[in-house]
Subunit: 480 residues, 2 copies
């Protein structure tokens, strides 16, 4: 395909993209396919000779679309949102064309420098403490990770390295393995599975702190665990706080927990993967209070800030902590500006070596929406969640299972877990809307997350009508 | 920006992309900017209100382009290639529009299933042993990782977990920490820095095996190290072989090394990040011989197979080894088809949870090029590398420093490292072509990698003329 054909096909693709997103509501949100459906629809081997582009495009509708869960449908209320916007898609096209790999400053200075400045822009939108910003002389700074899982892992590895060095400095007789065997990390019993996974990867113990009736970690319980572990000869070194847990969007009490972590020389990482975007609104910013005690902070603009996946924003107070853990400089990656102090080589900040020019997406979105536009977007979603909450509360057959703070509503039918499992099964089978469950205090709960960029009040109303209709049918059945 | 405006802006962007790539040769390949150049060119904060799209596009030329290292310029010969093609870019546009997150089968069945089948297609192109393919009943299978670094890390973690379980099964008195402290991994002294980094992350020792005069690991040296370590009470568990090392594109002797690893119960991972693409050509396939002994194999189609970053293909013989290491199933990620045996939940195969629909790029590229087109592309690059090799060999002032097998030529001026450093410095400062160095046997060596999709013989000839012109000037100077 030469440039001339690309100009034609690219413009057709732009229309295909716009058509897909404009008409997404006409498609069932959840696909009706069985595992293995796709293999029989395409050949078993790649073609020997080039095919026609038209045939590929026809196959998008024939092969791909029947198996798509349409995350951007206004009938999609599952998991948490994944961001999508036209400015981000335009920036991604440019990113693909430039196609640079930004592992070091020299590998494409603009790729690195725009990222540093965009993370400063975003940090200011969140009113992050100055110490997290890079500026021109700061010790902190931000980086785009692929996902929150990687940000958590990087923070845990940096904390592990820092703890080993600190403990060895005062206990020179302790081997690294001995220290590692005594290190203990903590997180909420509501934390995302990726946090526990980070500890498994890092080869350190992780303990789950029981949460209060709002599913939040509080100081008293956490301090008790730390004290007991210290008495047992263990070495507490890391706490991953969650602001906006996945099951119920609960918020750990970081204002209480942060000072304790600081006193105990424990690294505090804050994972606000979903909720973080809301902190750009002054009325939600208090939820981030306590970040001043954290060593690192992360959230996903690719969830709720209109920047297509992947774009997970992470800041550290001391970038030396992060890059000190794994800095390696083979000759083929060295460059002459490396030691100037002004240069950031992002490969030391992350697990992968290569990286795309993802900050272009941030730049396009921030400028095309402006802070006001982004705040309006967040607020609209929160209003819609509250609207859904009111509908649930007005129906005595249902109950709300957790505080509705942002865009997630956890609810259930009063009654058995089985009853709620049956309700969700019917919802899934109808394919008109899509939700996923969670477990709260042993109860099977339905999660209703406001997700789509183009969702309106009437979608929420229609979803609720659908849920109550299925509830009506379910409760008619003899066994209930 | 609504759909209507996106249709207009998207088509403009398609032209911008085509214009950029058609005229890329007119730009200096390496940017003339100082560290920190970008910050002063844009505001210190995000705008409060939306800006004009035209202003953003103007800023691409004003702010971004001056700081770009143009990886797709035919004058770019640095690092290794990073892939770029129009079909891949079209697929990426579609990927952005669908915008699904494929962490589980249910999260978007097409995203998971197309990936499994594309990795089978690609595995067949490489003539991988059947056991690496998923098929409908296989125990193996492929996955798209973001980068080779992540593939290496995943293989090391899986090997670590498998080794601990195996050793504990027969030595129930050994604690996990005791085992970890004795585990030892190996790789070539020419291996990529990410391999050593994987061991640091995984908290295990890694030893570097000295290479022969072709920069390859051979059995005798490796066996000696393993025997000595076993005699010292250590537990060898993992070997990362490299096919196509970063410094000189050398090939470890996997046909000798594989049986040894199998006998010693060591996991053999093969990292063929760059060279792997060439194995689709029958004449280069013998370089992959020995893969039948490996537990996992990885290469980067995003380097040399025309699929834009990121797309790193990894296969394992037993997928249970990979997913068994870190499987976690919180309720919000469970789905009803999970236990059917036919379903792949790729989140268990990788470090991140989320993932884009990257197999679309493979599907578009394989179909638009066909196997013949892809082979022709590889062969053309190899021919051009040989052409450059001939030019160097014909000039008595220069020497070739390593076998030229694929698209990389390592060469230097006969003389001191300082002389070669000065030559490279001049090349970099002229910005007409771009190369990076490596170190081979203590010597400073220039790497000339065939990179761009649109490179032709005349670019290679012009590059050599430029190098010899700069050499002439350099050797004229009094100090030489």
């Amino acid at each position: 395909m030469d440039a001339e054909e690309f100009r034609r096909r690219g413009k057709e693709m732009v229309d295909l993209v716009a058509d897909y997103l404009e008409n997404i509501e006409d498609r069932p949100v959840y696909p009706d396919v069985e595992p293995g459906y796709l293999r029989s629809l395409i050949p078993t081997e790649a073609p020997q000779d080039p095919e026609n582009y038209e045939d590929i495009i026809k196959d998008v509708e024939r092969v791909i679309m029947p198996g798509i869960t349409h995350w951007h449908s206004p009938n999609f209320f599952a998991y948490f949102p994944t961001a999508s916007s036209y400015p981000a898609m335009l920036a991604d096209m440019l990113c693909g064309a430039i196609g640079c790999i930004g592992f070091s400053w020299a590998a494409s200075p603009a790729c690195t420098e725009l990222e540093t400045v965009m993370l400063d822009w975003l940090g200011k939108m969140l009113q992050l403490p100055e110490c997290f910003l890079a500026g021109t002389h700061g010790q902190g700074g931000g980086v785009i990770q692929g996902t929150a899982s990687e940000a958590t892992l990087m923070s845990l590895l940096a904390a592990r390295c820092k703890a080993v060095r600190r403990i060895q400095a005062t206990n020179s007789d302790m081997s690294e393995m001995e220290i590692l065997s005594k290190l203990v990390a903590y997180t909420s019993d509501q934390a995302h599975s990726s946090v526990e996974r980070a500890a498994l990867i890092g080869g350190v113990k992780m303990k789950k702190v029981p949460t209060d009736e709002h599913y939040a970690v509080r100081k008293d319980m956490f301090m008790k665990m730390v004290e007991e572990d210290k008495a047992d000869g263990l070495l507490p070194f890391y706490f991953c706080a969650t602001l906006g847990t996945t099951p119920s969007c609960a918020f750990d009490k970081t204002e209480e927990l942060g000072p304790l972590c600081n006193e105990e020389n424990m690294w505090m990482h804050i994972d606000a993967a979903y909720a973080g975007s809301a902190f750009i609104c002054p009325e939600f910013r208090p939820l981030l209070n306590g970040v001043e005690f954290a060593d690192s902070f992360n959230f996903n603009p690719h969830k709720w800030l209109l920047i297509n996946f992947d774009c997970s924003a992470m800041w550290v107070k001391k970038r030396a902590d992060l890059i000190g853990a794994f800095k390696m400089d083979p000759l083929y990656l060295k460059h002459e500006n490396q030691e100037s102090g002004l240069v950031t080589d992002y490969r030391h900040w992350q697990i992968p070596l290569g990286r795309r020019f993802r900050s272009l997406k941030m730049w396009f979105v921030f400028r095309m929406y402006g802070l006001n536009g982004l705040q309006a977007y967040i607020r609209k979603h929160v209003v819609l969640a509250k609207e859904f909450e009111s509908l649930v509360r007005a129906d005595k057959r249902f109950e709300i299972c957790a505080d509705v703070v942002l865009g997630l509503v956890c609810f259930r039918l009063k009654g058995s877990n089985e009853l709620n499992q049956n309700l969700l099964k019917r919802i899934t089978q109808c394919r008109e809307i899509h939700l996923v469950p969670c477990q709260l205090s042993g109860r099977f709960v339905l999660r209703f997350a406001i997700c789509a960029r183009k969702i309106e009040s009437h979608h929420v109303q229609k979803a609720w009508q659908h849920i109550t209709q299925l509830t009506f049918e379910l409760l008619q059945e003899p066994e209930h």
